[in-house]
Amino acid sequence: MITVSRSHWGPGAVALFLALFLTVFLVIPVAKVIYVAFQDPNTGALTLINFIDFFNTSLFRESFVNSFYVAALSVVVASAFALPLAYFTTRFNFSGAILIQTLGVIPLIMPPFVGAVAMVLLFGQNGTINLLLDEYLGFTIPFMEGLNGVIFVESVHYFPFILINLSAALNNIDRSMEEAAQNLGASRGRLFRRIVFPLAMPGYVAGASLVFLKVFDDLGTPLLLNINNMLAPQAYLRITSIGIGDPMGYVISVILVTFSLLALWTSFLALRGKEYATVQKGGGGLMKRDLAGWEKAGCYAVVILILLLVLSPHIALTLLSFGTVWSFSPLPDAYTVQHYVDVVSTSSIYITNTLLYAGLAAGIDVVFGTAIAYVVWRTGLPGRKMLDYLAMGAVAIPGVVLGIGYLRTFYQFDVPFIDKPLASWWVIIVIALAIRRLPYALRACVAALQQVSVMLEEAAENLGATKSRTVRRVVVPLMTGGIVAGFVTSFATASVELSATIMLVSQESDAPLAYGIYEFMQSAAGRGPGAALGIIAVLIIGIATYLSHRIVNNKETERAPRQQSAAQGV
């Protein structure tokens, strides 16, 4: 173990700065929210009365149950989407596996509430599907009725979290693990149940718990679907319609945070000691099997059905963006490009804001993520683990709670020179996004750092490079792939965030895309342009994501021979 020495003052200062940043922008705002929840609204004294009120009110109890129900069922439905896609593409020789994996991630880069609007048009009581069903078969299916709609929209939006994690886990299983079981007599079904599934479990649980968390604290979707009796909408409604002084909003926030942390903790317990490093020397991923003709047809049918389902928001949004009037009919009455013309001429500010905010936030995330990863894994600073927990803890803080906390904390704080409260300066949006996405970037950076051997660093130091120069010249370049991956994840998901931004946007010129779309969707003539803006958003984020993937891949292939020779040397 490295001890704190004089050569560690640099990392120490960096760690201190990071801790300060997290304290100011994560701990204090959340603590303020928690504090108010325990304050008597009339006297200001500390009390538990607000929580008693919460659990005595049947509406809140119902909201609580509904939030749980929706989050749990969303995990189930999302798993139903993700499992076949992950399984087929990692285990069978399947043409278009890469395309399927890419298309499967697209739902993430659309704000979920936009998906909600689009899905109502397709699957609603009088949407395309039900109108057709009713006309030809005489019955309808309540896809979008009540909580069903929330579950449907959320699982379509968030299932990629399971797909990505599960595919990675499946790909990481050493082929010989599977062969050993076959060799000992386990055939397909039992092989999957006894070996493949347990080994992929950590990946699945990681994805599933993320879905649970995100659904549990999502605000936009239930609001757009007019579902009020869930926790996040209740918190938002209480704060915006009753006021920042109403304690119930804070109580709900505390309950949201508590249960998010509990969900995280549960998944942590479930995974403890099971983070199998199954990649071993000579292991080459899962065995891929060729499919017989009818099997192939069946798999394609399932894959295409799922892709159609999960891409239905994009399909509907595209129709909406080109449609003139779409009312009580399976398809729009006519098509036009006018909405795009309108949007491009009036709304470029949303696009530039989004690129600026999400870009800055993702930039902050990877810089901080790299720094935290380094401090935690490569130094012996006392309390360094706390930094990791703190940054990861942000994943359990719902956007609404962070938004409320910022309003509460930074309204009294004026930014020098621009003479505005910090809470209404656009930079606060960037900070909120950065804090919210930091956990993603941090995990990517940690993974990247763990692949860089300490020996490579020692070699640099041995040749006279100082700590900071070693980090800059050896560690960071070797981490590039992971850092870019972290940047992409943060950027893409920050671009579509609404929960925190809706509370923090104080003027239209500061608004990002998601907010702009939300606003467009508030008027009769705005649906088409709103949809057009949504499609543009998906395209821009999609292209940005694709480009950064290309950069990563180029870097990786560039580095591949070097790594190989290093591996041979071992």
């Binding site: 050493d174 010989s176 693990m177 062969e179 050993a180 079981a181 076959q182 060799n183 000992l184 007599g185 386990a186 055939s187 039992r190 006894r194 070996i195 347990p198 080994l199 479990m201 000691g273 099971k274 199998y276 490093a277 199954t278 071993q280 020397k281 000579g282 292991g283 065995m287």
Partner: protein, 364 residues
Amino acid sequence: MSLNQPSGGGVAVTVENLSLSFGKTEVLKGVNLEIRPGELFTFLGPSGSGKSTLLRSIAGFGPQPGGRILIDGEDIAGLAPWDRNVGMVFQSYALWPHMTVRKNVAFGLEERKVPAREIRERVEAALDLVGLVAYGDRRPSQLSGGQQQRVALARTIVVEPRVLLLDEPLSNLDANLRVQMRREIHDLQRKLNLTTIFVTHDQEEANTISDRMAVLDQGVIQQTGAPLELYDNPANRFVASFLGTANMLEGRVERADGRPWFVADAGFRLPMADGFSPGGERVTAMARPQNLTIGAPGDATGDGRLEGQVEVLEFLGTIVRYAVKVGGTSLLVDETHRAGRPVFQLGDRVSLGVDAEDIRLLPA
């Protein structure tokens, strides 16, 4: 069959005209093999020679090969891996991290629907056999490399497979442990009298452990036989050099002075044992370095004598290895080292000797 009693001979494994391609690359090109019951047979070859692919074909992994694989006379080529009852130990051991040692070992028996009580007994017996009874409740990650290797072995033999397949089982162990495990595997194999196929790229490992072995290169079996036989009488240049250091000279056989001579392209000739008749075609002469003698000019003993100059000198402990420049080539000579014996120095003029019977002729 029980683990503690020899199983009376094991079964024969026959491979007939086995060929296999990965895409356009031919990995096995018509392999024929006859492995006798109870034998410990080794596939030896460099990486990419097809030895692991051949083993995996026997276990039923990888693409479906052409040709036949017979175990005890039964063609298993079309069977799924789980229906073959051949036990395989993987290079990486492939112990399942989510199961304890005991669970790992019990797996195959559970798949075979063996009654629970019997499973318990047989698992304990297998663990006892590899000396790991005390470790049954550990997870694989809590074991050392050698212990993992033993668990992998126990897991495979507990199901009493017809054939035991070992895919480079020692490559992940350090040098000392490798020697020890090699003996253990050998003893175990003898005890169980189980037909065993062992894959390795290490000729020392192959020599020490095998009853017989097959040397593979580029998807073709180069030669099959007992280790000593292959070392002394390699069938071709590849086998000769893969099994040990060899001097190889190109040239042809001519008859002169009433006996056959090997006339090297390098510009000298060596006497050959009678029975070699000159065919005029180009051949390779092979002589192991330890079969050459070295001495001061004129001193070396042997049927053939050559004069040269010491070019390289390596002290290897038990031997001193010289590279001696002779004519247009360089020959390696090993001399057993004894304290006090003079060692030639770089640049020294020396004489080399070799007996006619130590020279082997190989195809060019």
